[in-house]
Every structure is written in structure tokens, then in C-alpha cells.
């Protein structure tokens, strides 16, 4: 984008000078005609028609032929410089050395400024210097019909001062031309710079506006999310209250029937009643698990260093107390210390280990291995069992809520345990995955970030 701007800027500078050239050319047309006509007028005084028409005509011819033949080149401007000098020489000659005719050179010099090119002064100065030197010398040595000055005291000193003053005038005009050009260029560049800055300002304002609107949008979305979260919380609350109570009542009244009316019921009624109660209890567990799952989404982590060895040992003890079978073998390798939320991490170990126990219970030698391995440079904990395992093609369902890969009649459960584990690990910004084969067991891996 900056390159484009520079290009436009350069071309604008060129356009500007082209325009100046055009205007100057037009003015020069009038001036040259004027000079030629002036030559004709001066011819009346000393009868110098040949010089007026010849030299003046040749000068015009030189100027216009160069300009026509090489329109793209600046050469005709240099020719113009020389032509101005020649006109001066012509007028001096025509007026037989009238001193005031020398000033014609200064008119030419001033005219050349309009092209804003100091170099144009050079051919003018050269012609003037050559003319003055030769004609002054020739007049001095006494050639007739050579007219340079009518002064009778034209000493060398006067000549030098005269020439020096002329050169100074040319120099000043050249300097002006140079400065005009420099000024124009800077002016154009500055205009462009201002334009660019304005554009930048506009772009910046637009960006700021966009950011503002983005912030407003983010605020709106956050507010929406918060309100949705609140609704969800209210939903959880009502689920917790209103769904559990009827289940407790179903279960309670069933129990009352069982104890008080036992004598009046036959076996079928008792069995059916038991099924009803069992299912009510099961649904209660589902709701409890679901609530745990919901609550986890909202609570924040309290990260502390955890001695995983201690934690896992405690969890195993707790599980074995409930299990009562005592036939499981645990292989606990030395575990790395880590950081995390101790309450939630205990939940992770509890769920993973009870799963391992549950799904390997039907084995003859149920074995559970707990350890650490280093996978891709991160500390990875694993729990491996030799239980029922599962088909890896269902692995995407493994961590989803209420998704189970086994029938309730085979293995009890609500389908929340692993979802909860997944959510806890994800909340810790760790990863969890599993590897399994049907009837050959399953291994669950998880990593925790280094806090």
C-alpha cells in the first residue's frame, strides 16, 4: 500500500512539473515573438534589418525545431537559454553597444526561472560570457563594426566587475529556480503525507469503532451466557429438589408396605415392589450423579500439590472396603507428585479405580496396575485392568454423559463416572484417553499440566 502511495506521489510530482512546463512554454512563445518583434523595431535605429531578421529568425528556428523534434527532451529549454543570450548580443549589436541592452540578458535569466531548473542558466551564462569576452576584446583591439559598449572607459577591471555581476545575477536566478523546485516538491510530498496521515487516522478510527462494537458484542454475549448459566443453575436446583422428593416417597412407601404389609403380600407382589423400589433408587443415583456433574461445571479449581501415592492408596482402601471381595490384586508403581484440585483429583482416581474393579470383577485373577509413563514428554498417569474392556470403535462415547458401553444387567452404573472424570481432567487443562480391547482389559491415561 505504501508503495502505491509513493508511486502516486511520484507521478503527481511529475504531473506538477509537466504542468509548469506547459505554462512556461506558452509564456515563452509570447516572449520570443516579442523579442523578435523588438529586434525588428530596433532595426529602425541603425538599419540592422539583416541582423534582426537573420539572427532573430535563426534563434527562433533553433528553438522551435528542437522543441518540435525532441518534444520529450528538455534540450529545447537549454537552447532557449542560449537564445536569450543571443538576443542580448543581437540587441547590443543593433543598438551599437547601448549599455542598457546588456540588461536583456537578465530578462532572459529571470524568464528561465519559470522552468524551475537552475541548469538552464548555464547556456545563457556561457553565451553571455563568450559574447562579452570576444566582442569586448575585438572592440578593444579596434575592429570596426564590432559593437560591445559605448562607454569610453571600458577597462579590464570594469569588464571583470560587469561579467561578475552578470554571473551573480545568473547564479541568483539559478538558485531561485532550484529552490522553487525543491519547495514545490516538498510541498507536494507534504500534502501527500498529510493525506496519508488523514487516511491513517480514518482507518484508525474505523478500527477503534470496530473494536468498540466488538467489545459491546462480547459483553452482550457474556451477559447472555451468564443468564443461560443462571437458568441452568436454577434448572439443576429444581431437578435436585423436585425430582428427588417423589423418588424418595415412592421408595419410602414401598418400604413401608414391605415391612408392615409383608404378611398380606405374595411373592410376585413383593418381587414387583422390589423392582419398583430398586429403579427409584437407581434414578435417584442418576440424579445425584448428574447434579455432581452440573456442579463441577460451575465450581472453580483449588490447585495444590498432591502426593498421588498417598491419594491412590487411600482410594484403593476405600474401594476395597466397599468391595468386600478382596480378590483384586493392585500393582501400584511409584507415582509422580503433581498439582491439582485434591478433592476433584480424588474423584478422578476413585472413578477410574472403581471402574477398573467393577469391570474386572468377573475375571479369575483380576489385576489392576497403576503407574506413570512418559508419553510425548508429559507425565502420564495410567490405570490398567484385565477386565471386560470395550470395542475401540465406541471410544467416542466413552466420556459422554449417560453413555454406557455395557448393559446395566452386566455392570451397574449410571454412565456419569467417566464423563465426570473427563470433565475434571479437562477443567485442569489436562488430557484423558483410553486404550482397550474386548475381553482383554482397558487402560485409561491422563495428563495434568505443570502448574
Amino acid at each position: 500500500m505504501l508503495n502505491t502511495i509513493t508511486a502516486i506521489q511520484t507521478s503527481s510530482v511529475d504531473d506538477f512539473f509537466a504542468d509548469i512546463k506547459k505554462k512556461s512554454d506558452r509564456a515563452i512563445n509570447y516572449f520570443l515573438c516579442g523579442f523578435f518583434v523588438a529586434g525588428l523595431i530596433l532595426a529602425q535605429f541603425y538599419d540592422t534589418w539583416t541582423v534582426a531578421i537573420g539572427i532573430g529568425g535563426l534563434s527562433l528556428l533553433a528553438y522551435y525545431s528542437t522543441k518540435t523534434l525532441l518534444p520529450e527532451s528538455d534540450l529545447y529549454q537549454y537552447v532557449l537559454g542560449a537564445v536569450f543570450g543571443i538576443f542580448m548580443a543581437q540587441y547590443i549589436y543593433q543598438m551599437h553597444g547601448l549599455f542598457e541592452m546588456h540588461f536583456i540578458a537578465f530578462i532572459g535569466s529571470a524568464m528561465l526561472i519559470t522552468y524551475q531548473n537552475w541548469k538552464l542558466q548555464i547556456p545563457l551564462a556561457l553565451v553571455v560570457i563568450v559574447h562579452h569576452a570576444t566582442f569586448a576584446y575585438l572592440q578593444y583591439v579596434g575592429y570596426e563594426k564590432i559593437y560591445f559598449t559605448q562607454l569610453d572607459y571600458m577597462s579590464l577591471q570594469t569588464f571583470i566587475i560587469h561579467a561578475l555581476l552578470a554571473v551573480i545575477v545568473f547564479f541568483i536566478c539559478g538558485l531561485w529556480a532550484y529552490q522553487f523546485k525543491a519547495f514545490s516538491k516538498t510541498h507536494i510530498e507534504q500534502s501527500f503525507e498529510i493525506g496519508r496521515l488523514q487516511e491513517e487516522e480514518v482507518a484508525k478510527e474505523a478500527l477503534e469503532k470496530m473494536n468498540e462494537s466488538l467489545e459491546v458484542k462480547v459483553k452482550d454475549r457474556t451477559a447472555q451466557l451468564e443468564s443461560v448459566n443462571k437458568e441452568l443453575e436454577a434448572f439443576c436446583y429444581s431437578v435436585s429438589h423436585d425430582l428427588r422428593a417423589p423418588l424418595r416417597i415412592i421408595n419410602g412407601f414401598g418400604k413401608m408396605l414391605m415391612t408392615k404389609e409383608s404378611a398380606n403380600m405374595n411373592k410376585v407382589i413383593k418381587e414387583n415392589l422390589e423392582i419398583m423400589m430398586k429403579n427409584a433408587t437407581q434414578m435417584g443415583m442418576l440424579i445425584d450423579d448428574l447434579l455432581d456433574f452440573c456442579r463441577l461445571g460451575r465450581s472453580s479449581l483449588t490447585v495444590k500439590p498432591i502426593d498421588m501415592n498417598d491419594m491412590v492408596k487411600t482410594v484403593i482402601d476405600e474401594i476395597l472396603q466397599d468391595e468386600h471381595t478382596g480378590q483384586h490384586q493392585f500393582h501400584l508403581h511409584e507415582l509422580a507428585t503433581s498439582k491439582g484440585d485434591p478433592v476433584l483429583m480424588k474423584q478422578v482416581w476413585t472413578n477410574l479405580l472403581s471402574n477398573a474393579v467393577k469391570y474386572s470383577r468377573k475375571r479369575e485373577n483380576p489385576m489392576i496396575e497403576i503407574g506413570v509413563s512418559h508419553i510425548n514428554g508429559s507425565t502420564t498417569y495410567f490405570v490398567k485392568d484385565n477386565g471386560a474392556g470395550f470395542d475401540m470403535k465406541f471410544s467416542d462415547k466413552l466420556f459422554a454423559v449417560f453413555q454406557r458401553l455395557h448393559k446395566v444387567t452386566e455392570y451397574e452404573g449410571t454412565g456419569v463416572g467417566l464423563a465426570l472424570v473427563h470433565r475434571i481432567i479437562t477443567k485442569h487443562e489436562g488430557t484423558i484417553w483410553a486404550d482397550a480391547k474386548v475381553n482383554e482389559g482397558a487402560t485409561f491415561y491422563f495428563t495434568l499440566p505443570n502448574y
Partner: protein, 157 residues
């Protein structure tokens, strides 16, 4: 109900829940002097002998209040706040029996000075055991401060 002394005040809007609670307490013979109210306003009326309970003897207070949270008219936590901010009732042990495990409720409950917060299990056996344990702890094992309080108020009067 009249002027009979009351041991337990049960505040529970669901009649079936109330029946299950009473059944469980009965097993320990703790439900003989129990009064059941089914909303928060009535609970406060009963305690402070207002409205329907104007005739109730003013200075007789229950030894234990079992309070549900989700109550019509005045919620359980508001009832608790009233009980715990009145000198006459603040020493009565209050046990919240709630279906809800909401952290906010538990925290607010304890901040307001509840003596125990019990989440009612769905399984009736566990529920029944929890209720009867509660009853026997607060009614039999725990030394009641109500007598002391009564003695004090009488002295002042």
C-alpha cells in the same frame, strides 16, 4: 394441639415426605410429641404463638426443629433466619432436611446458624436411619439448652 408440650416441630410441605419422616421417628418412639406444619409462615406462627396458635402456651418451645427448605409462603432459610435472630428461639436446635445439595444453601444455612444440614437420601433405608439417628442424637443424647433458656426468661420476667 392445645397446650401440650411439643418435642419436635416438623416443617415440611409435602405430606408424604412428612409421613415418611414421622414413620422413621416413630420407630425410635420419638414422634409422640411431634407437631407438623406445612409452610414457613405457620411454623413461625406456631413458635411465636401467633395467629392460629394464639392460645398456645407462649413459653413452651420444641426441643428440635426439623426444617425443609423448599416451603411455600416463607422459605426455609427465612424461617431459620427468624428463629436464629430471636432470643426466645435461637437456642433451639434446627436441623435442615433438604433435598438439595446446593452449596449456596448449605453455606447460607450454616451462616444463619443452623445446627445441622442433612441431605435426604432417595433410598428409604438410609433415609430412615438418618432421621432416626438425628432424632435420637438431638432428643436423647444432646443436652437441651431449652430448659436453661426457659429458666432464664422466667427469672427476667
Amino acid at each position: 394441639m392445645g397446650n401440650n408440650e411439643i418435642d419436635i416441630l416438623l416443617v415440611e410441605d409435602n405430606p408424604y415426605e412428612a409421613r415418611l419422616t414421622i414413620e422413621s421417628l416413630q420407630e425410635q418412639n420419638l414422634a409422640n410429641r411431634l407437631h407438623h406444619v406445612d409452610d414457613g409462615a405457620e411454623a413461625l406462627d406456631f413458635l411465636f404463638a401467633r395467629g392460629r396458635y394464639e392460645d398456645r402456651e407462649n413459653e413452651s418451645y420444641p426441643k428440635l426443629i426439623l426444617l425443609d427448605l423448599n416451603l411455600p409462603k416463607i422459605g426455609g432459610l427465612d424461617v431459620l433466619r427468624e428463629i436464629k435472630s430471636d432470643d426466645r428461639t435461637k437456642s433451639i436446635p434446627v436441623v435442615i432436611l433438604s433435598s438439595s445439595k446446593q452449596d449456596a444453601d448449605v453455606i447460607t444455612g450454616y451462616m444463619l446458624g443452623v445446627n445441622s444440614y442433612v441431605v435426604k437420601p432417595v433410598d428409604f433405608d438410609i433415609f430412615s436411619k438418618a432421621i432416626s439417628d438425628l432424632g435420637s442424637y438431638w432428643m436423647l443424647l444432646n443436652e437441651s439448652s431449652v430448659l436453661l433458656l426457659l429458666a432464664k426468661t422466667r427469672l427476667v420476667a
